[in-house]
């Protein structure tokens, strides 16, 4: 066993402690910025839908401004966004580098994308069902929590799955500017030192992460979809 490892992935073996550390950092970055993004994204997504024309809390001005802000952030390439956000990141978490420093740009990079996913998911909820709830005397808050978020759950789960997977990709990019994690690890060793086995192992690990998230998503969907 040890011979095989030595033959094919010698550098991984040498740097196994740092590899473990990187995995931990990636998990930390993705889960912390993931949770923050999910919460913010759902809130913004709900607002995007309910303030649309003809909907329960119609507000054209708010909806327009919100839409423009989201499009603005979505149009900035993530690697540039990281740089642009440095002052804000310092202000919020005190440092613009390391795992902590990566969280702010990750949230900014993910929330706009995720809000649109939520928007799409909630728009799929049958308008007739919303109407039925209104006819039964439901308040806007009731309709949001008991109808939109509940009836739109399958779409929301799909959105979460896609978003978390894209977040793993972004976290690797954040690593490139000193955020730590698997991306950082692969670039420093695999790319800069030509230890290509490290690159391959990193890919496999990320692949496993993605599969786990997708698998969990599908499992939940199977349970809730009717």
């Amino acid at each position: 066993m040890k011979e095989v490892i030595l033959k094919y992935i010698p550098n991984v073996l040498d740097n196994r402690i740092e590899l473990m550390q990187s995995i931990g950092e990636t998990i930390a970055m993705v889960s912390i910025s993931g949770i923050i993004s999910l919460v913010l994204g759902i809130i913004i997504g709900v607002f995007l839908v309910v303030t649309k024309e003809g909907n329960i809390l119609e507000n054209n001005i708010f909806n327009n401004i919100m839409g423009k802000i989201i499009n603005f952030f979505r149009s900035i390439p993530f690697i540039i966004l990281i740089g642009a956000l440095i002052p804000l990141t310092r202000l919020i978490v005190g440092s613009a580098i390391g795992t902590k420093g990566a969280i702010v740009p990750l949230v900014f990079g993910t929330v706009p994308f995720f809000s649109r996913q939520i928007e799409t998911a909630l728009m799929e909820v049958d308008k007739g069902v919303i109407e039925a709830a209104q006819a039964m005397g439901s308040s806007p808050l009731d309709i949001i929590f008991r109808v939109y978020l509940r009836e739109g759950l399958p779409g929301i789960i799909r959105g979460i799955t896609i978003t978390l997977i894209s977040l793993i990709g972004l976290s690797a990019m954040a690593g490139a500017i000193g955020g730590g994690g698997l991306g950082d690890f692969a670039i420093r060793y695999g790319y800069q030192r030509f230890q290509i086995d490290i690159t391959y192992v990193t890919i496999i690990i990320i692949l496993i992460f993605v599969s786990i998230i997708q698998g969990l998503g599908n499992l939940v969907l199977k349970k809730i979809e009717r």
Partner: protein, 355 residues
């Protein structure tokens, strides 16, 4: 119970304005089943949605139990809506919830304990005959069953009014009948007032007490179902009635080339309609003997609307002109409605429905 007063609804998308309803006023009495019939685009759907303010009228008032709903604050409006149930063409059930939870949805916030809630839900499902489907999801139900769940849900808060927005339009004829029967039964049991809109005259015929015919956003004719069936005035109303009877056919036959009924120029052709009691008297044979007129029935039809029989016949009178006129007058005295149909004898090709 419900008064619709001068309601107009204009849809304005910025570019063009569409008048969906124009100055409609209606009174719906407690305990009746009120039908609104019209073709698609007549504005009937908008009108029924104005009643519970799903669509806010541009002008006009909706008065429910003496209170103007359009003047209420949102919160008060919501509490009134609990007293106005509504069912829809496409049922609009919550697909993520089973039957039990669908019916329990409107009960949240009504301060019922879990036990009381359960009792109420089961009671409602019993009422609509779906007690064995408590745990089923909407996707496992047929159209008729879905509508029954929707009815149970709409009745959860003991409403006094039930609005039916094309409630049977997505169902097959047999299921339509069973849902209409259920509605009638519930109306009697729970003392409901029902407002329904439809494009099917058979629905009106089967359960409505009064009916309005809508066209172009306006009500063009209103009356009891018996009145409308026996004396339709507007062309659209006649078209609707023709869809449930064979009345239209007779005119088609009369307009054909051959004169299959052998109508002579001096004969008189008339449409005779009667409501209720006049059905029991042998008016035709009595009159025929009295005025020495041959009367042959080319077409006849009886509808039972609620408990009122409504008859309609196309009769060919042959004999002396004067006597025919007396015969017709005799009919009219007895309360029958007689419309003489124009014809030009045996060479005729044009028969019209005018009197």
């Amino acid at each position: 119970m419900i008064e619709i007063i001068g309601v107009t609804k204009v849809f304005d998308n910025g570019k063009n304005k569409v008048k969906a309803i124009q100055d409609v006023s209606l009174n719906i009495n407690k305990g009746e089943i009120y039908g609104i019939i019209g073709y698609s685009g007549a504005g009937k759907s908008t009108l029924i949605r104005c009643i519970n303010l799903l669509e806010r009228p541009t002008t006009g008032k909706i008065v429910f139990k003496g209170e103007d709903l359009t003047a209420l604050r949102e919160k008060d409006l919501r509490s009134r809506r609990k007293k106005i149930g509504m069912i829809f063409q496409h049922f609009n059930l919550f697909n993520s919830r089973n039957v039990y939870k669908n019916v329990a949805y409107p009960l949240r916030g009504s301060k019922l304990s879990k036990e009381e809630e359960k009792k109420r839900v089961l009671e409602l499902l019993e009422l609509v005959g779906l007690k064995d489907k408590v745990m089923a999801y909407p996707s496992e139900l047929s159209g008729g069953q879905k509508q029954r769940v929707a009815i149970a849900r709409a009745l959860a808060n003991n409403p006094e009014v039930l609005l039916c927005d094309e409630a049977t339009s997505a169902l097959d004829p047999k299921t339509t009948n069973s849902i209409l029967e259920l509605l009638r039964e519930l109306k009697n049991k729970l003392n409901l007032t029902i407002v329904l809109i439809t494009h099917e005259m058979s629905v009106i015929k089967q359960i409505c007490d009064r009916v309005s015919v809508m066209e172009g956003g306006q009500i063009i004719e209103e009356g009891t179902v018996a009145q409308i069936f026996s004396q339709p005035i507007h062309e659209t109303t006649k078209e609707f009635i023709d869809t449930t009877t064979n009345r239209g056919k007779i005119y088609e036959i009369l307009n054909k080339e051959e004169n299959i009924f052998n109508i002579k120029e001096e004969d008189v052709l008339a449409r005779v309609a009667y409501i209720g009691e006049s059905t029991t008297e042998a008016l035709l044979s009595k009159g025929s003997r009295k005025y020495r007129i041959d009367a042959s029935i080319l077409y006849g039809n009886i509808e039972i609307l609620g408990e009122t029989p409504i008859g309609e016949m196309i009769i060919l009178f042959s004999g002396e002109r004067e006597n025919i006129q007396s015969f017709i007058n005799y009919f009219r005295e007895k309360g029958l409605i007689v419309e003489v149909i124009d014809h030009e004898g045996s060479n005729s090709k044009v028969y019209t429905k005018c009197s």
